[in-house]
Symmetry: D2
Subunit: 476 residues, 4 copies
């Protein structure tokens, strides 16, 4: 039987066998194609901070429980800190023959501190280790994302505060519907972001649970203290079933699903920025800093950032499809397929963060154009509903009033006029209920100021929303 | 200009114009192809209970606020109850020319009670009405789903209680990993279901908010009381921004995403049932009632239910892709595209419910086969980890111990023996640390009973899990 | 052991056992929940035409090979034709206890003609039978779809011919790019549809292969003639490997993928119709027949059909996700999961067909608005590229010319003028190469007529495209 | 107005404006966040070979048409070849401030050869340039993929030839169905690969069309010759409509859809390898080179490559979802969103190629285990269909025969025997038609050798398949 000394094992040589930390029973080296195909260190190295943080907590627990000595504990912690420093300065020698971040760090630790390093993996498997790393990573990143959501929500709030008097039509079916305050419109994005933040928080409840200590999936024979490790790492609780723990990637999917809903919101915002930047709408100027040009058409100023955000929705949705596909029909417990959860996760985190960052700046500096917005309010009979409400208030059934106003609109359209340009006689030819006071309610201003229902667009209602949002934002 | 009397409007005739409740300004009838293409009543009629419940609350609120009289209120409520009865008995005359469930009910109401029926739609639009119907529907269905999850979790719990002594290998990479208790294995499904239930509850927090009263999207000029409507319908709160409210379908997506994760779990369970039913594993007998035959091969008994559940994952994932695709890049606020959210939603609800129902029965009646399970434990060196732990406890670094045991396994394999069949001399040729007591820890029973860590597979640990799960289930 | 007579088997009674055509070895009845959960006849009954056509060919082949007698052949064919008639008139008694369309027809056949009906399933399994039905169905439907694509392409061609003189900006980044002929613009859709049609034809090559005769998956012991069956059913060839044949659903996925690409095109068209119908663009009037109204806002006329088509993209994409998910990781050969391929397939066929049908009508009757289009050409410096090309033709490097014209645009913008409103002196302040002839090339008409490159927008080039498309369409 | 000299433009300085090749009209520098967010050179640099090849053809055409001089042509070609050399040696200075591969190369060219470099972009836009690059890239890669498919198909063919005598059950519903030859089983994969190859070829028909010369989307005012450029680059034809050409990414989607179907096949193969490698099946030994170990369990030998392939299906499906999502509802013509098509495309190409490469090796070296396969044939009544066929040949209706044999199986199961272990009397208690010759047809060998139908599993049929596949492979 082949045996190798510790130093052989660390040599990384491709000739001597077995070189893999798991290679005791293997007689032939891993095929080179397999090595390349299966390695994950090229992307999971991003988890190094979390892996080391987790290992430090693990060894502290092992020491507290008497499974390693306190000298070993210290050596291991010192070694791990050294390694972290090497990684931060880019000096760490990553080796694909050690497959993943875990074995790279472990092998390096043994190189640095000798046999004691080999004790770190006591009462632990890569199965629970990776589950821990991913949860620590997600916790870090979710906090960052929530902080970026706060910035973007703040940018909307500021714009809403700065544009309180501005009026704009809101659209249904991309047809002008009714006049609203621009502030009201902008706060709709605030609401979306609020729900997004809540979803991220709920998701965190589920991944903020310590998996460490379930080992390969059956638990361990060592007298470990999982709750102590949880405490060290700031987890409120620990997972309850070891088989479930190593089988579970729900939290990755839930995080990406949460991000997909969030990004869907960003895509809607992006679409509106593209529309509003078009010459046809001309409701917003994003500025030179946030637009780019054409290689052939010298006049172009394109809202590329907004388009790219709309486009990047694709990759977030794609990642969600990927992780769901990945986990479909996998029997218990850990399967190597699960390694494929990382790239979609990382890409989602990066995409969400960079998009929020650039959007917050872009919203902050966007210049809305009240003149164009208001000129869009003059055409299109956007106060027709007010006319119907008027009749309904005068006693006509609303369904009937809607019908009557349909006729009024039709007449106005034929005669090339707006509603307020019709004479009282013309109106009364449709219903005797029309009186002179009707003209107050069909101005754009009148329409807006009368929508005082909770959540409606009247100034008083919007100011209330502003206040509520503002208070809330402080608590985020 | 064309004008029609109320009765014309109700005639449903295809000649007279305008026949649509919204048709006041239209001069030509909707094209027949368009009518067929755009109608939704063929599927949204399933919301009739919710639509009527919502309308009753709406009219009560209108009456309380003096917007309709109490006579009108009573007439409307009576009419709506009549309509509900017609629907329940299948007598309701659905008409696609009224497009959707809302207009079908409204038109019928006017037929029944005359002009008063035309007042119901005061201070309301289909935009907020459909948002209300969907939320009421989801609330009903989510409660049912949670109750079905409870049944399935209960079935696992019972099987776990009934099989406490049974041992089975758990697998990683579909290779036998370590011996565990079958109860422990089954409780892993309990954990999954617990997270699923939590996700449904979190989702409910977000849709359990009243949208009614935002009307088309800008609020209304009528002096409504949205909080009162919320109270009547049991919503803890109301939506805050009218534009957001009519634009929002987050809750549909979140519900389906939650269901996709849940169904992913069912697909994993299904995969295991298929594997375990194969002759090769032979770990479970699902019984004649839960298997079906072949039209050509007389000997077949196939686990069709499990396969179909695995297969139906496809439709839940497909529905999630659909609703995310649907909402991508939609500008504010309501767009007709959003009508397409219903079929994926309904299909998801139906799929999840019918699957849970059949699974709970199937798990209840499944007969596990301890003999096959235990015979799978004899081969495959499933206690090799215990051997390594043994050496580690004797002072060898775990990494080294793993290496050494790799060699032991390799020798045993070559010699065609299991670990416990090696002599102490053979073991000691690998390490002097092996002593006679090693044989205790490499029996299947010894391996299991020593994994006493929290969440591990030792009987005491599993009994604790059983107790916790059992207590928890009572609270669901 | 329980035995039943043929008549018992047909009784459909829930008490006597075994009632299933495959139930010989089963001792307990299928659980009622399982019956409901696994039945497919509620949706696969749509394949009845194909199932019967396939069965007739099968029995003809069996008779030619002497496996059934010609009397039996005749009885079976007569019985099947009767059954088809029953189905066409809605009199056929569908029974979910017979699971699927195949067993429903077979059981009914035996009811009608007695034992001879039991011979039809000789040398056949439902595994090859369903593969045949789906292929026959897809062949029928693909031909219909291609004919509908032809109609829509024809509608674009006619509009292109009718609008040869009309000019419109084309957009990149939703910013006005350059002037083009509307005909040119419309023909871009023709090209898309041409590729779609090609893809459907390529897909058909792969499903137009006879699967019948591979039976359960290993072939049969009967002396069948698969090539004769292929000839009867118009298949150019037969499948080559029986295991592959029953495992294969590629053609379902490829058909839906082809449809997804096609529908993506329809979504882009729909988006443009929505944009062009907005007041802001106002490039097209879809007419009252193709728009609908609002339940609350009397003035609305919404492009619902276009929105729904954009929205229905979701279900086609969802179906593609579904069938791909379905087949992922399924081991050979037939698995019950595969039953789930039908609903996404049928839904895709229905969606594509109804959308094409309504779109063709809508495009035919759409009224384009040259005035709005042309007024969109006056602003936005859409001939700036022509200015740069002018300088490049005079010898300046294009990259330099682009830079110079950027400066010109910037000056024009500041001074509030269009390019052709600048004086020759103003132009020459940017480059001495500008001369009086520059003004010819920066008119909208000049810009268009000079783009004579193949595929470009000059009238002569567009007329050539029109002619080519027109000739091609005749051959479709 | 700010003006800069050519050298300023090339300085890449962040202070002087405008530095962008398209920046003539811009007054403020692009925001740093935007620069990072919108750049694509970090991933589209992979297209450098194609970009340069396309540019060389473009300038040759420009020179032939007299648009650039032959000196300029030569300088540009020399410059481009220099640049290619720089890229191949890793010396090329990529700069994200030049956004993409096109502008990086163009800017470098101007640095190298001065103003002449600025003429390369005459009669061209990045819109047609990127469409060209992607098509050239896909053509290259599709050819490579087809060659890898050939290798894998060859590996299956060789194994099929080497294992002609080996028998194995094929499965439906993961239940043993009937005995087949292993060669027959392996050739089922050959068929799948054949269809995959055909789909790639059909896809190539559609992207193998020259887009160059449509410029921004309206064609050009320069007298170019697109057909000449097509000839230089080996494209059989050119695109017909300039607007369609810059809007079209069908070919990216079709390529990924084709890859998704192909990869679905690989996932099914992978699943079978995982199953077959399990102790429970034990049908194949993948060898040490193609398996890996566990960090904690010393006995493990896991089929990681197969699992990862199954898992990587997720990313290919995710990429398909991504590109479909991307293009949904995009109005004409180029939108910046489309930049997002590249990463999913590249990832798909890489995934498919590396998977095929490792699979071909793994299949070549896999060792099938005839003993385990054959022992799986002894249990499970896998010749029951033969028994029913026997009765049908003796005149009993097949449906009746199936029923009778169901009873036989049931009796055998109760008595704990296999079919061939029943006595003739026992058989005859079910049907008088059973005679002594029945025993020939219910041996595993008899079952196989009697399935002589085309595509069936009898040796003569399989040898015919082998021969056909072998001939075909030579032509690939």
């Amino acid at each position: 039987m082949l045996r190798v000394s510790e130093s052989d094992f660390l040599s990384g040589s491709r000739v001597d066998l077995p070189k893999k930390p798991w290679g005791g029973r293997f007689k032939k080296a891993t095929h080179e194609l397999v090595e390349r195909f299966t390695e994950s260190v090229s992307f999971d190295k991003r988890l190094f901070v979390d892996d080391i943080e987790g290992s430090i907590a693990h060894v502290k627990m092992l020491s507290k429980q008497g499974i390693v000595s306190s000298e070993e504990e210290q050596a291991i912690i010192d070694g791990l800190r050294d390694i972290r420093a090497e990684m931060e300065t880019g000096e760490f020698p990553f080796r694909t023959e050690y497959e993943d971040i875990h074995l790279n760090i472990e092998a390096r630790l043994i190189e640095k501190i000798g046999e004691a390093g080999g004790r770190l993996h006591t009462a632990r498997s890569r199965n629970d280790q990776i589950a821990l790393d991913e949860r620590l990573y997600l916790r870090r990143e979710t906090r960052e994302i929530n902080s970026l959501i706060k910035s973007l929500a703040g940018a909307f709030l500021t714009q809403a505060e700065d544009n309180v008097g501005v009026m704009v039509p809101f659209y249904t079916h991309l047809q002008r519907a009714q006049p609203v305050l621009l502030s009201h419109y902008l706060l709709a994005y605030f609401e979306m972001l609020r729900r997004d933040r809540e979803r991220y928080m709920d998701c965190m409840k589920r991944f903020n649970v310590l998996p460490l200590g379930v080992c390969a999936g059956a638990g361990t024979t060592f007298p470990i203290d999982r709750h102590y490790a949880a405490e060290l790492l700031g987890f409120p609780t620990v997972t309850r079933n070891s088989i479930d723990t190593v089988s579970d990637r729900d939290f990755v999917i839930e995080f990406i699903a949460t991000s997909a809903i969030h990004y869907m919101h960003l895509s809607r915002l992006a679409e509106e920025l593209v529309l509003w930047s078009s010459k046809e709408f001309d409701f917003v100027d994003l500025g030179d800093e946030f637009t780019t040009g054409s290689s052939i058409m010298p006049q172009k100023r394109n809202p590329d950032v907004a388009e790219l955000i709309r486009g990047k929705t694709a990759r977030v949705y794609g990642s969600l499809t990927a992780v769901l596909t990945l986990m479909k029909g996998l029997p218990f417990s850990y399967n190597r397929d699960m390694q494929e959860d990382k790239e979609p996760l990382f890409d989602t985190v990066d995409t969400v963060k960079s998009s929020l960052e650039v959007l917050a700046e872009m919203i902050k500096t966007a210049r809305f154009k009240p003149e164009s917005m208001e000129s869009a309010l003059t055409g299109g009979f956007s106060t027709a509903t007010d006319l119907a409400d008027y009749l309904a208030r005068k006693g006509m059934a609303f369904r009937k009033a809607h019908e009557v106003v349909g006729g009024v609109v039709s007449m106005a359209e034929e005669r090339g006029r707006e509603l307020h340009q019709l004479s009282i006689e013309e109106l009364r030819s449709h219903s005797e209920l029309f009186a002179q006071d009707v003209f107050e309610c069909i101005t754009v201003e009148g329409s807006i100021s009368s929508r005082t229902s909770y959540g409606g667009t009247a100034k008083q209602s919007v100011l209330k929303q502003l206040e509520e949002c503002s208070k809330e934002l402080e608590l985020w």
